[in-house]
Amino acid sequence: MKSSYAYYPGCLASLSQKELDTSTRAIADKLGMTLVDIPGFTCCGAGDVHEARPEYYLHLNARILGQAEQLGQDTLMTICNVCTLNLRQANAKLQADPELLQRVNRNLKEVGAASYSGGVDVRHLLWEIAEGDGYEKLKQIAEKPLTGIKIAPFYGCQILRPSRLLGFEDPDRPQSLERIIEACGAEPVDYPSKIKCCGFPIVLARAEVALGELIQPLAEAKEAGADAMVTPCPLCHLSLDAWQSKASREADMEFDLPIFHLAQLVGAAAGLSYDELQFKRHVVKAYPVTDKIYQGV
Amino acid sequence: MVRHDVVVVGAGLAGMRAAIEASRYGVDVGVVSKLHPTRSHSGAAEGGINAALGNAGEDDPQKHTFFTVKGSDYLGDQDAIAVMCEEGPGDIYELEHMGAIFSRTDDGRIAQRPFGAGGAPRTCYAADITGHVLLHVLYEQLVKSGVTVYEEWFALDLVTDGERCVGVTAWDLVRGGVQGVEASAVIMATGGLGRMYRGTTNAYACTGDGMSMAWRAGVPLKDMEFMQFHPTTLKSNGVLITEGARGEGGYLRNSEGDRFMFNYAPNAGELASRDVVSRSEQTEIDEGRGVDGCVLLDLTHLGAKRINERLHGSRELAMDYAGVDPIEEPIPVRPGSHYHMGGIDTDVWGHTLMPGLYAAGECACVSVHGANRLGGNSLLETVVFGRRTGAAAAQDVRRNGSGGVFSPSAAAIAERSIGRMLDKNDGERPHVLRQELADAMYDNAGIFRSAEGLEACKAKVEELRERYDRGVVVQDKGRDFNTDLIQAIELGSMLEMADCLVTGAIARTESRGAHSRLDYPERDDEAWLRHTLAFYDEGQVRLDYRPVTITEYEPAVRSY
């Protein structure tokens, strides 16, 4: 874990998933991480710009990395799976090909943007607190263990695959979320679909297909006895939370599973309140579980 | 029971090229293959395909012809070789127009590199996955042509009506059961038989089934004793490292670090003819200058960039199957059985002596390779003669109409025979015989042969044939997808073909090309400038001979 990071919240955490940004800043404080805001940051392009306009995607991300570099930071921290893959993939390409980096920088210079020299590493918050001194710090701050709460981890796709670009852990047998859940005093619940796709990228353009995917982790987590789920990605969170009722209808099953952002899980274990972690912003009400946490009900 | 004008058995490069060509003549074509077409062994070819395009310097088909004739140790039929070398360029351009992704020169033409004993850079290539690229482009064209493909149908026997070939029987692997496949013309394109040897580059599927079918139906097999050993195969599983690695500048070293090839081939060095290189390597190994039974293929001086661009496939193979990164270390290699020069006797249009039966590709022997094949000429042969054979079969059908009478009992007879195989419960498992055959062939019918060893091998093969005829045990009794049954049938093909090979080898008391006799080390043109023909004679091998067609080049001393 570093003492300071260039902080990249991404688009969703800045707006519709604001609770994620709020919670992240709150726990960063507890963890002793300084988050340095990137003044001119933009969207990373998500999967859509990455696909439709690959050159533009590359430049958008080079610009973000350049800005982080300008702030004197050697590590940029993300809190979203998609941002993580997008930034890391662009970074890998630029770092591996000096000619490409030169060409991109020429374009950036032409529009007056900061250039990038390849000196930034991109890390998701999940990785920073799942091992090493970050994990030790996490254990230290988890003063209010979430005893008796069963949490099903949902990794989502782009924090695991393709592993040659992410490479933090075994993409087929990840354990980082389980370790964090345990450090927070809760009980991790295992189920097969925890590494599969929530369907978010096509939840609008191919609603039926996306729901067919989304049902799996929800149903399996429920059947495995989970009280709630946790995910490191705000897009997965939107699927699991905001789309839960649609999935419920499609599956003809009640799920009633509150979905925690990773930062909220950590925040709750660190003693932050329901309001500080903005739990009320969830579509699937968190209070059956948060009541247990905050009132020992 | 299905019926087509032309039926092609085998869907590798030669089979698919034949099918595509035949369909262009407007005849109805069906393809029978025991594998899905893109699983065919053509896909494993790596280094390239020869043609006198002249893209890497002055070249012409006559030069290509000469080096091929010399490479064949003068056993190749020179008229056939001339046809292949003349028509080669046109076939390469056609493959490119179909979409084949050849590597390019700086000005966008098809790149060519040197290959063993070619004399000039004449080998067109697609990185080091040429076979894969060509196999897939032909499959694309096959799909485009709309030809019917019966995949995972294992052809069992040729059906004849006493005068001509009228089709084949085939076992439908997926659904189980014998199918009759009636045709006015049958083209055999079933590939080679390397699996009869221990230590082969060949896929499991290369078991000589088509040759066996033709032989049993009375069609002679030509030059069966000539088996090529590829110099650079991996010890663990026989996998091929392309000659292209040497074409790109790789060295062969012995345990003392010497580039020993210059002792055997002062001019060509590592790029001498394959038989010469294999014998040299084996000699180094036998004389104690090997490393763990291998010599070392050193690519380290080529650099990471060149290796990743041109030899990416080879690097992967070396890492996966030899645990070695060729950028850092040399690859231990040794000779392995690779290509069979012999096969079903055909003319330059793929006709066999039996009306209605044709053959092309490795299972055929035209002969364009004689006693030893040049690297890059096999892929060429498949497209040139695949095309010519497809055209010939289609034109014959259009001219002569439908063939003879397909006996309604043919399928039933085959069905009963399979039933007997499945019913047997006591006896040997096929793999026992398969291993004994592979060991015997490697030990006694390999790179260096002698009368003593060959006779022992013949005795062993005859013993194995007897044991096989008594019945092997197929444990899988089911009719659905019974690969245990297929493997048992394939063993039968290999035993018969081994008999033809060894019998021919015993009789040929000279050394020529890949056939190297320790007891007859010289080439003897007076007695042996002739093709061996192996006929089926009540289950035994009867030999006969036929002269070689010499047009331009009188046999000369062959040195590199």
């Binding site: 796709c197 | 127009h97 590597s103 390019r104 499991y204």
Partner: protein, 339 residues
């Protein structure tokens, strides 16, 4: 060394499924395929699987090991033995099982055939010799051309699980091989094949295909290339393309994604109206940002200029690609053209 495997077997004649454990002795360098061969030869001849080249080029031996598709011939057993693991071997996913580890590949080949898997020469007379094509141009399709059609990518495809008619990563990677081949003149009509309801926009971007591919084809990246071609040709009829358009427009206008625009622009105004109750539920939780006060990034002009600059560069690339292949200078057809 001794290897123990659990194998999911299926016998079609009795319609029986069961898991069987086998333990056999093999050489140190043995691959999973070698182990299966020893089991078949020495223990149970009815164990059924496909194989041919044993060198990862024919694509026959795809199967799952602990739920993840691999090529049996490319999977060394020693690391598993050393780790004391007993893997479960099962047939590939998303395809019907015929027997034991053999799946019915016909649906796979049907999708292959459906994408027009051959070069479209546009009916043009080819040159006498080869088309002049630069190595860099062909390098654009070399990655997809590595594909051996093994099915490992299809086995774990999350979209295909939810939509069995999805063309899938193997077929679409093959499509990319033609879309980006300068000699292919298929143009927009070819792209339309991949623009349908079960085409590129069906891909959920789970990246399982990239993860599983044993040959480095990166099928997801290939699907993206086809998506890019469709998008940049202005073919925006599908909701998937319109979804992408929102991202591009929003980042241009504000630097961020304008989530409120996503729904109506992707699913169209009629469907958007149907989603009003859903949207209200989100709004109650505070999830709908104020559409009238869009959040804008600082230094936005940099981003807008960047977009325009890159767009012009992309157009140039597209035009060059669409121009088609070059004839050799001395080609008779070239001479005819310039007459």
């Amino acid at each position: 060394m001794q290897v123990t495997l659990k194998i999911e077997r299926y016998n079609p004649e009795s319609d029986e499924s069961r898991q069987e454990t086998f333990s056999v002795d093999v050489v140190e360098e043995a691959t999973l395929l070698d182990v299966l061969d020893v089991i078949k030869d020495e223990v149970d001849g009815s164990l059924t699987y496909r194989k041919s080249c044993r060198m990862a080029v024919c694509g026959s031996c795809g199967m799952r090991m602990d739920g993840a598709a691999v090529l049996a011939c490319k999977t060394p057993m020693r690391p598993l033995v050393e780790a004391g693991e007993v893997p479960v071997i099962s047939p590939m996913g998303n395809l019907p099982v015929l027997k034991d580890l053999v799946v019915d590949m016909e649906p796979f080949w049907a999708k292959f055939r459906a994408i027009k898997p051959y070069l479209d020469d546009g009916g043009e007379e080819p040159p006498v010799k080869e088309w002049r094509v630069q190595q860099e141009e062909l390098d654009r399709v070399m990655t997809e051309a590595l594909c051996i059609q093994c099915g490992c990518c299809v086995s774990e495809c999350n979209s295909m699980e939810a939509d069995p008619d999805f063309l899938g990563p193997a077929a679409l990677a093959k499509a990319a091989r033609f879309v980006n081949d300068v000699r292919d003149r298929g143009g927009k009509s070819r792209l339309e094949i991949y623009n349908g309801p079960h085409g590129v926009w069906d891909c959920t971007r789970c990246y399982f295909c990239n993860q599983r591919c044993p040959k480095g084809v990166h099928p997801r990246d290939a699907i993206a290339k086809v998506g890019a071609a469709i998008y940049q040709e202005g073919m925006h009829s599908d909701g998937g393309a319109r979804h992408a358009k929102v991202f591009v427009k929003s980042t241009h206008q504000t630097g961020y994604l304008l989530e409120t625009h996503l729904v109506p622009e992707t699913v169209g105004p009629v469907n958007a109206i149907k989603e009003i109750p859903f949207a209200l539920r989100l709004a109650r939780a505070g999830k709908v940002p104020n559409p009238l006060k869009p959040h804008k990034a600082k230094k936005l002009d940099e981003v807008r200029k960047l977009n325009k600059l890159i767009e012009s560069q992309e157009q140039a690339t597209l035009e060059a690609a669409n121009a088609g292949p070059t004839r050799p200078p001395a080609d008779p057809a070239q001479a005819k053209e310039s007459e």
